[in-house]
Symmetry: C2
């Protein structure tokens, strides 16, 4: 039987040569359809499981808290072993969350916020500890930046992450460059994973070639390492087998297919996963937002004016070319970026349904829809900007200090 | 023009397929000749330079100290940029020494001692600091040992190394597993090197294949790292451009060809090298001694009785089958392992020349030659054993503590 990692490898290779398939890996997300990536196909290809009503109902039942709109609306749409995590919850046993960020630019954009908004909700809902890996080494290896620059960006980005409101007693943020050179157990775990993964495997999973640097080739082991609590003896008070749940965008799944393949050979638990869809670029759902194109994204540092201008100028519209036609035929929410952004950030289901109905029927014009989104994002980004202003370097250092987190297990 | 690394790569590939060529790389040393590896051919293949009388005379002139018998007798026979190191000495500028050991067995053997004996002489003669890398991560990646075992062996082997008499104020011994997880600058340098070396390059230089682990593939960067003083800010008091001289057996040269290829791209100095021949196995000069075959080696923990028995039983003899023939035709020192061992450990040139003359002419019998070697090695190993007994765990910790070394630069 093919392992998860092999399955993924074959399928990614297939996707790379098959025009009908979307390309989804940690470095490229390209879809040939205006509706974006076909996520039900992706679930089959990657061999993960759809997040269905049963799973959502079970979460509500166990936590007594309402389902997050990211779950209700299929933004987090796929999982691996989430039922096993809920089994633990049922038995009053703990787990921890692991997510991360590759710090390649000073400003984070809205798309970067998605996993952190959801991870914060998971932390609050399940009352669990969280480790956040800042892969400054990765960004140094992949980008034209010095390691000093990416390390500095890790600290800058940590401010945006902290501004999402994570519980300081239960959250450890670390830079690879700093923590690998601080924790023997983390480095040992890296070595253990690196011993079990061949070039053939990473070639299959990630599409590396002989011309790639040995840094890139060995990096996947570093992203895998935080999936195992024994890499963090100080953080988890020496507990070696705390189960791990990883919320991430689905493009990061290849790393964790590899991790799940390695885990049993290390005698360790496979991490569970919750996968999100991609946050579309302003220009449309063909790809995900990119920090390298300032006009494809709304940044967390953008002013109210910039937000308004970007939405009006760049947000791809599903409306009709003329008002007359629009009134007659209505807009297409499936391809309208403003509407899609509202599914991410407008929490009120009724209000969103009303907008959809009015826009689809032609009662609401593109300009009005864009105004709704502008209001939502000016408020969201404005509040974020304000919270971020209060995150001092000292506060960053507190989150990034290696220390025992508060948790029960 | 082909770089040193490319040149080596081509030549190693050639050696691997050409029966006439010796195989010399960090994992295999195989010669088809009873006289062992053809070192003058190797110098051409690797593109290094012979250590000639001019270089030795210059060392004597600059240091005012006699030439070590390892140099006089061609045991250290090849170099890269040693004249540049002597230029520094001439200008009263400093440099540092870097050597290492892969801790794969508890007992070190005589062959392991060669680079350390010579490095100690270099430290004393040039009055310079020294870093010694214990590659416990490497041995974990290559051998069927846990990382905890290889880390423990690093500390055990450090005792044998310290027993060679290195100056504590000027010597830093470190385990990779411990120091990488202690020094940010070391890890940063590792990443910088890993970014500049492709899989193609390490495939060419080391013969890695797609089936090798990503740990092995990225390891060469770790062995390269100590060649740059900026990886050791605490040790060298923040000095970033201290020139480095690496004494090692020639099978380690591939690592440093790679390092020298990378150095200018990092804006750093290329390390200089002094290469030794291999210490032959008791069974003959086809290969180097191996710690995995106990009868191929004399260990630093062997008793007087074991030394005597191993020499009598296993040391390949260049003598004739019968006493009569031996008296008539004489023995062949070129293939006689006991004689060759004496070239390593009998410091007195006159006495060694006398033995060669008497053995070659048939005046001295194999039994007498073996008795000479037994005397020399029982004394050498006995004294080492005694010094090693005095090396406590506390003393090991002092050598392995990250601290400023005493040096002028």
């Amino acid at each position: 039987m093919a392992s998860e990692a092999d399955k993924g490898a074959e399928e990614v290779q297939k996707a790379l040569i098959d025009d009908d398939e979307d390309i989804v890996n940690p470095w490229d997300v390209v879809s040939s359809s205006a509706k974006g990536v076909d996520y039900s196909k992706l679930i089959k290809r990657f061999g993960s499981t759809e997040i269905d009503k049963e799973l959502m109902d079970r979460m509500v039942k166990l936590t007594g808290k309402p389902t997050h709109h990211f779950l209700r609306r299929g933004i987090f749409f796929s999982h691996r072993d989430m039922h096993q995590i809920l089994d633990l919850v049922e038995k009053k046993k703990g787990f921890y969350l692991y997510t991360g960020r590759g710090p390649s630019s000073e400003s984070m954009h809205l798309g970067h916020l998605i996993p952190f908004i959801f991870t914060k909700w998971l932390q609050d809902t399940f009352d669990v500890p969280l480790v956040i890996q800042m892969t400054d080494d990765e960004k140094f290896l992949w980008k034209d930046l010095t390691i000093e620059e990416t390390n500095k960006l890790a600290h800058e980005n940590a401010k945006d992450i902290i501004a999402c409101g994570f519980d300081k007693d239960k959250t450890f943020i670390f830079s690879d460059v700093e923590y690998i050179s601080e924790s023997t157990e983390f480095y040992k775990m890296m070595c253990k994973i690196q011993k079990l993964v061949t070039f053939n495997q990473v070639k299959g999973i990630f599409g590396f070639t002989d011309s790639d640097s040995i840094g890139k080739i060995s990096f996947p082991a570093i992203q895998a390492t935080p999936s195992f609590s024994s890499a963090f003896p100080q953080i988890f008070n020496g507990k070696k087998d705390v189960p791990c749940l990883i919320p991430c965008a689905i493009d990061q799944d290849p790393y964790f297919r590899m991790t799940r393949d390695v885990a049993p050979r290390l005698g360790l638990l496979k991490p569970a996963l919750l996968h999100s869809t991609f946050f579309p670029a302003l220009q449309g759902a063909h790809g995900k937002m990119s920090a390298s194109d300032p006009n494809s994204s709304i940044f967390l540092t953008d002013s109210d004016e910039q937000i308004k201008t970007k939405i009006n100028k760049y947000a791809f519209s599903g409306g009709k070319p003329t008002e007359e036609e629009h009134r007659k035929y209505g807009g297409n929410c499936d391809i309208d970026v403003s509407y899609q952004y509202l599914t991410f950030f407008m929490e009120d289901d009724d209000k969103l349904a009303d907008i959809k109905s009015r826009y689809s029927s032609g009662k609401m014009l593109t300009g009005e829809l864009k105004q709704e989104l502008t209001n939502v994002l000016q408020k969201l980004v404005g509040e974020h900007r304000e919270r971020r202003l209060n995150v001092t370097d000292d506060i960053v250092n507190e989150y990034m200090k290696s220390r025992k987190l508060k948790f029960e297990y």
